[in-house]
Amino acid sequence: MALLEVEGLVKHFVAQRSLFGRPLAHVKAVDGVSFSLEAGKTLALVGESGCGKSTVSRLVLRLIEPDAGTVRFDGRDLLSLDASALRAFRREAQIIFQDPYASLNPRMTVGQILTEPLALHNLVPPARRRERVAEILRLVGLEPRLARRYPHEFSGGQRQRIAIARALAVEPKLIICDEPVSALDVSIRSQILNLLRELQDRLGLAYIFVSHDLAVVKHIADRVAVMNLGGIVEQADADELFADPRHPYSRALLSAIPLPQPHAKRAKVVLQGDIPSALNPPAGCRFHTRCPFVIDRCRTEAPALVADEAGHATACHRVGELPPADAILPVAAGFTPELAKLVAAFSRKTEGAPPTGVGIQSARPTTT
């Protein structure tokens, strides 16, 4: 059985009200989203600004209430939980945000930040809490002595480690990662991505990974759902999606990513025009205003998300007739042999290196 099952999730926000409070306009932030997630796996929600990916992640935690649909976590219907049952559920599902500075209280020390969830859920007797905080800090590659410091004393990457540590404190089964590396520099980004993967292997965590960056998603996800204007347009296993993207929007997203490969040979799908407003989404298929393959049917009739036998689902009327995606896929080029050796030597050496700077330990856990 899946850890998380989401069925027909809908959330409309009121964008404008009349003088008497009657809603005049709605933003259809999430409009019929369904997916499921196995324990220990990673589902990525991908899409551009305003596609509803962050709203979905908040609905799953019931941080906001959905208008329709069901969310089942470990067999329980989340939407029927009362306040105390909901609090118990929050122990099992946590969230980390994009901006680690905004999500840590600047007036609390790291120790206090990590003790709070332990006390709130009464997980560890008060006498043992300090020890547990030290353990959690070590788990995310920080030194236990840093528990006395305040968030402003840390760099962005270290703050994100603290946010991850806080999420781990309650020993959750699911962590929602909402653009966890978007605000970080590339070298720090890879540390956090490696850490997330190692923690998953070690603790059997499931992730919902919300991101706009397909290269990061390819690195971390087992399954990918591509969202556009409140709906999922394509859903498949990650390997399958990156080898054979079927929806024109997924293809456009893939081809828009600049490759760190000068003179890369691939065709580009540059979408014309802007992302339509979610306040006033186009009728029919919501991608039709930007789709290079649009036909009349797309303008009137919204396509359903239909899966094939392998579980690769696409919401497009023309999915069978589209040209193959080969031309837009990046050629598997990779590094030259010398460079590959050099990068390997670089990583090998830094892994064993003693801690430098303000007490980052090697991010590699001691047991694997």
Partner: protein, 329 residues
Amino acid sequence: MSASPLIEIRDLRIRFHGDDGRVTHAVDSVDLSIANGATLGLVGESGCGKSVTSLAIMGLLPKQTTEISGAIRFDGFDLLKTPDQTLRDLRGNRLAMIFQEPMTSLNPSFTIGDQIIETILRHRGGSRRSARDRATELLRRVHIPSPERRIDEYPHKLSGGMRQRVMIAMALACDPQLLIADEPTTALDVTLQAQILELMRELKAASGAAIILITHDLGVVAEVCDEVAVMYAGEIVERAPVDELFSAPQHPYTVGLLGSIPRLDHRAEQLATIEGMVPNMAQPPAGCRFAARCPFVLDACTRAPPPLVEVSPGHLSRCIRAPLERLVS
């Protein structure tokens, strides 16, 4: 490099004096030259000095707290010694800049047309009517749909991608010889980024202006630039033609950067990481600034600052262990 570069930076050093008397070394001994029509990528992580370098070119650093030495030669001027009046004539005219966040660079209380026309009238003069025609033409050049109508709109009515197009139109208003683009696509979604990059390539081919593109995204560099300078802790650590930088990097920091990006074109089980932190620039280390984080470090690295030397023709590295191929063969 052609015989006479368009802009030549010699031994640029920039120090900031803080309120508490602390001196931060933001940029140190930077040498750069850019030929007409070339596109140079300036790459590095937050705080490496890439934006400060570009602000120094534009003369936009605060005078009271900044100490600048060296020379920036542009078309017979030394920009560091040019009086403000002359600089104002150059900026927006022959030197132009695009910033990351178009909303904060546009004035919300004037229409986009007014703001472009102001630039044209300031530098080119002429009638308001002809300036307006030129502004419409510029908006068309950056592919803004129905420019005759859009020209009278206020910035808040435009989407992020459109605003960045307006910024580019404004920068191009007087056909600049040098265009500095500071993270021009970082705030945009990928599909819009692809449009803007396409536009930049198109304009580069059409105008022949030299471009300095500042970015942290190596993918963007690979797509647009001819040449790349990698900055770390205020210094240029490597400079190379774009193909060479990606196929045979000669500084360990560049190797680490290339290894740490997740890629679409091949999958790595484990990404490379650069352990440790950027040095405190109030007291930069005596030797190589990357030494503390470098897996290939030797004793000699920490003793004296390594010079930027040519490893192969046109390829410079600030690493005494270059060529790095020797380390793995």
